[in-house]
């Protein structure tokens, strides 16, 4: 399998700029998911990589071969890139076996490769069927087998599971990912499902504003998103106003504190230091609710549960902390506070903060800030 590198990809449709100087590097054998709002250009990126469309500017390199640049264009049939589309796009006039054999050289069509692939996707006996005789999940399995048959250098999956029902979807996804890893297939996988993006990938890329805003491992992306927009996009997020204290500088880089309405929180180590107003990311599962009677004197925030969704394994609370502010809290499924209960909140673990947008420039004075700290909630 292979690496793929995109540099400065730009593509407009009419006056709409869909991709804007996009850079992306996918290492050999990695499964990379791309996630973004609909219309963010994910599918366009896939179509450019496959060679179905040409970029206005930029280069695409597969291993060491430039497959698309201002000087050179390798047509899709010469790229050896497998493509699995949302609708499967099986050839309706061909049987399952003939669909899978389509991309194979004539000599290999009866060599057992077709059977091998159908077995791989668990459809060994259905070679004689026509696509319309298969369920949606089976069609997607055939589409994957067909894409893998000619041993492509790269596999592109364009929201392949989005037309399936949720139960089928996660089991098929697990199967497909296992197959792709077994084949050591470099894979680009577009989705708009967060759980899918995080659970399936070695690396996750957030696509927005026509570019890849962050490409990182799922853990890094979730715990240390590059900016507030990425944080909101991936998972539930409380974005809380705070201030990084100038006085904290003396205590060394690893012991920075940020003052917020939820208390003084430790910043994650190893990030670009800054001083002044900040936007702080507190994930709901970092917030711990306590009963009011065993309140620690150090718990800075109290509030009342105004919404409660119970999922069994966990529970999502919305706690109103007064003044129109509220905090989302994810807690364990046992002994959870009830609707209307008064609770005190504390924060577990380190947090990530970014310098607040310039609109707060008037309140850079460090000492006064914690009092006007605000909590907002955001759910992606």
């Amino acid at each position: 399998m292979s690496t793929i590198t995109c540099v400065g990809l730009t593509k407009s449709f009419g006056t709409t700029r869909v991709l804007d100087r996009l850079d992306l590097a996918v290492p050999d054998g990695a499964v990379v998911t791309l996630i973004g709002e609909s219309g963010s250009g994910k599918t366009t990126l896939m179509r450019l990589v496959a060679g179905f469309e040409r970029p206005d500017a930029g280069t695409i390199t597969l291993d060491d071969d430039v497959v698309d640049s201002a000087q050179r264009f390798v047509p899709p049939d010469k790229r050896r890139i497998g493509f699995v589309a949302q609708e499967g796009n099986l050839f309706p006039h061909l049987t399952v076996a003939k669909n899978v054999a389509f991309g194979l050289p004539r000599a290999q069509r009866s060599s057992g490769r077709v059977r091998e692939l159908l077995d791989l996707v668990g459809l060994g006996d259905l070679g004689g069927r026509y696509p319309h005789q298969l369920s949606g999940g089976q069609q997607q399995r055939v589409a994957l087998a067909r894409a893998l048959a000619p041993r492509p250098r790269l596999v592109l999956l364009d929201e392949p599971f989005s037309s399936l029902d949720p139960a089928l979807r996660s089991s098929l996804r697990a199967d497909v990912m296992r197959i792709l890893r077994d084949q050591h297939a470099t894979t680009l996988f577009v989705t708009h499902d967060q759980a899918e993006a995080l659970s399936a990938a070695d690396l996750v890329g957030i696509v927005g504003d026509g570019t890849v805003r962050q490409l990182a491992t799922p853990e890094t992306l979730y715990n240390q998103p590059a900016d507030a927009a990425v944080a909101k996009f991936l998972g539930d997020a409380n974005l809380v106003d705070g201030t990084v204290d100038r006085g904290a500088e003396g205590r060394g880089v690893d012991h920075r504190l940020v003052h917020t309405a939820l208390g003084d929180l430790h910043l994650v180590a190893g990030r670009q230091p800054f001083v002044g107003p900040a936007t702080v990311l507190v994930r709901p599962e970092q917030v711990v609710p306590h009963r009011l009677d065993d309140t620690h004197p150090s718990d800075p925030a109290t509030g009342r549960v105004v919404d409660r969704q119970y999922f069994g394994h966990d529970c999502m609370l919305v706690v109103s902390t007064g003044g129109g502010r509220s905090v989302r809290v994810r807690c364990g499924g046992q002994d959870t506070p009830q609707l209307g209960d008064a609770v005190a909140l504390s924060v577990d673990g380190d947090v990530v903060a970014w310098p607040a947008p310039a609109t707060d420039a008037g309140t850079t004075d460090a000492g006064a800030a914690p009092a006007r700290a605000q909590a907002r909630t955001a759910s992606a």
């Binding site: 496959a50 047509p75 049939d77 010469k78 890139i81 589309a85 796009n89 389509f102 319309h132 067909r146």
Partner: protein, 513 residues
């Protein structure tokens, strides 16, 4: 390039219309107006309109009723009835009129025309309505019942309501076809625009007068086409996905079974059984005509096959680029281009024939009464049928599938041959059959354009049928004409069945209107 070819095709299609206008205004606008503004034209208008309205309403009632019986009820033998009810489409209007008048001379004039036209045209409503009834999701009626509607009320307000645009499309075809017919009206001694146009040409030798009448007829047809567009609902049948649709439970007829069977049997008997029996009867009777045949049945059949097949081929090849353009580069401009070709549907064969006669006699006399012009006439007249027949297949052959072929390592040409061509082939075949069937039974334009010294089955039949004594001599031509229509008609029927078996596809008439 696709766009360029398409524009050329559309311009060629609309040329006859321009030629007719050119010929009519040759004499000057004042003279043209004096030719149109006379009581004769008013009488023709009245004759055409009162016939069109009554026949359209009757066809709508009979066609919808028959479709309901065969596709929603427990009518015994409904699959066979379904075939028999469509079959009258293979009997040309002038043959149907001739068989009835040959035995019942009292079938003539207005009432005769109503009878013959209704028997001939109701399949144009029956065919799409049967498809529409079959495509309706029974779940929707169940929802309506759960909301408190009785079963008949649910049927009326949900299912019938949804088929309205299909019904309107069928009525449009009935109306336009009726206004274009010539042979049946001549036989029935009922004066319409087409018979008057022929009269002006053959007895008055007045092409300008004929053109002026043609203009009125075209305006009337365009008026019908436009009126349908105003009334038609733009919303298509909303159908759930392929897996969501369950089979419908037929409505039990119970005591109504016998009357239902009887009415379907009478309809099929009058529209199909009677004319077929009469053709056979007159063939057996034989009898000398007194008029020697210009051509034997076999040579006439040869010309019919040749010109119809060539016309179908040309129409098919011309429709392909327009269809591809409209399906793949869908925007306002390409849809307008595609739709503008349906104007041709409103131009009767006699007008196209007249226009081509004018063109060849004035500008390219080497092509006057040449085989090429007859083929062109067929291709132009039946182009919309070809376009409609292939559009669903062309849509099915999505460019996404071609891309998939490319990504699997096949070059552009190999992809087109192994994916696109097999997918559009059924549509091409349907287009060919449709045009062939229509051309083989075409009389009006053929009479004007048939090459000197040649006859097709239709024109030779007509030569005998016009002399009301030569029944026995005319019958074999009618029999062969019906015979060679059956194969394409059967193939079309199969194609229709398949088409409507795929849920989620817009019906053919929805495409047309």
């Amino acid at each position: 390039m696709l766009a360029g070819i398409s524009v050329v095709v559309v311009v060629a299609l609309l040329t006859p219309l321009g030629l007719i206008v050119a010929q009519a205004v040759q004499a000057g606008w004042g003279d043209l107006w004096s030719l149109i503004d006379r009581s004769f034209v008013a009488e023709l208008l009245w004759n055409t309109v009162r016939l069109a309205v009554v026949v359209t309403v009757l066809s709508a009632i009979i066609g919808t009723g028959a479709a309901w019986l065969t596709d929603r009820t427990s009518l015994p033998g409904r699959r066979i009835w379904a075939v028999l009810l469509i079959a009258p489409i293979v009997i040309p209007d002038f043959v149907l009129a001739w068989t009835w008048t040959s035995i019942f001379p009292s079938v003539h004039g207005y009432l005769g025309a109503v009878l013959i036209m209704t028997l001939h045209l109701y399949p144009l409503v029956y065919l799409p309505m049967a498809g529409a009834f079959r495509a309706i999701d029974p779940g929707q009626e169940e929802v309506a019942q759960s909301l408190g509607l009785s079963r008949p009320a649910a049927w009326l307000r949900v299912s019938v309501r949804q088929t309205r645009s299909t019904l309107l499309g069928g009525c449009l075809l009935v109306c336009l076809s009726l206004m274009a017919y010539y042979g049946a009206f001549e036989t029935l001694h009922y004066q319409t625009f087409t018979t008057a146009i022929f009269g002006e040409l053959q007895t008055q030798f007045s092409p300008v007068s004929a053109s002026s009448l043609s203009l009125v007829l075209v305006v009337l047809s365009l008026f019908v086409l436009g009126g349908e567009a105003v009334f038609a609902e733009r919303g298509r049948l909303q159908r759930a996905g392929p897996m969501a649709q369950r089979a419908q439970t037929p409505i039990r007829l119970g005591k109504a079974t016998v009357p239902a069977l009887a009415s379907v049997a009478v309809l099929v008997g009058f529209a199909l059984g009677f004319p077929l029996a009469l053709v056979v009867y007159w063939m057996v009777q034989g009898g000398s005509s007194g008029v020697p045949a210009t051509l034997s049945v076999t040579s006439a059949a040869g010309y019919t096959l040749l010109y119809s097949a060539l016309g179908a081929l040309v129409a098919m090849l011309a429709a392909l680029p327009v269809s591809l353009l409209a399906a793949r580069y869908r925007n306002r401009w390409t849809s307008t281009l595609e739709r503008s070709t349906f104007i041709v549907q409103a131009i009767p064969g006699v007008v196209i024939g007249l226009a081509l006669v004018y063109l060849t006699s004035h500008y390219v006399s080497s092509l006057y009464q040449s085989p090429e012009m007859l083929v062109v006439a067929y291709a132009v007249m039946f182009f919309p049928l070809g376009l409609v027949a292939m559009s669903s297949s062309v849509t099915r052959a999505s460019p996404r599938l071609e891309e998939m072929g490319r990504s699997l390592g096949k070059g552009p040409l190999a992809t087109r041959l192994t994916i696109t061509l097999p997918l559009i082939a059924p549509g091409l075949a349907a287009a060919f059959c449709f045009v062939f069937l229509s051309a083989a039974t075409e009389l009006t334009a053929t009479l004007l354009l048939v090459p000197t010294g040649q006859q097709t089955l239709a024109t030779q039949f007509w030569a005998y049928a016009e002399q009301s004594v030569a029944f026995g001599a005319a019958a074999p031509y009618a029999a062969v004409m019906i015979g060679i229509s059956i194969v394409p008609a059967y193939l079309l029927g199969r194609w229709f069945d398949r088409r409507f078996a795929e849920p989620g596809q817009p019906s053919m008439l929805e495409n047309l209107t």
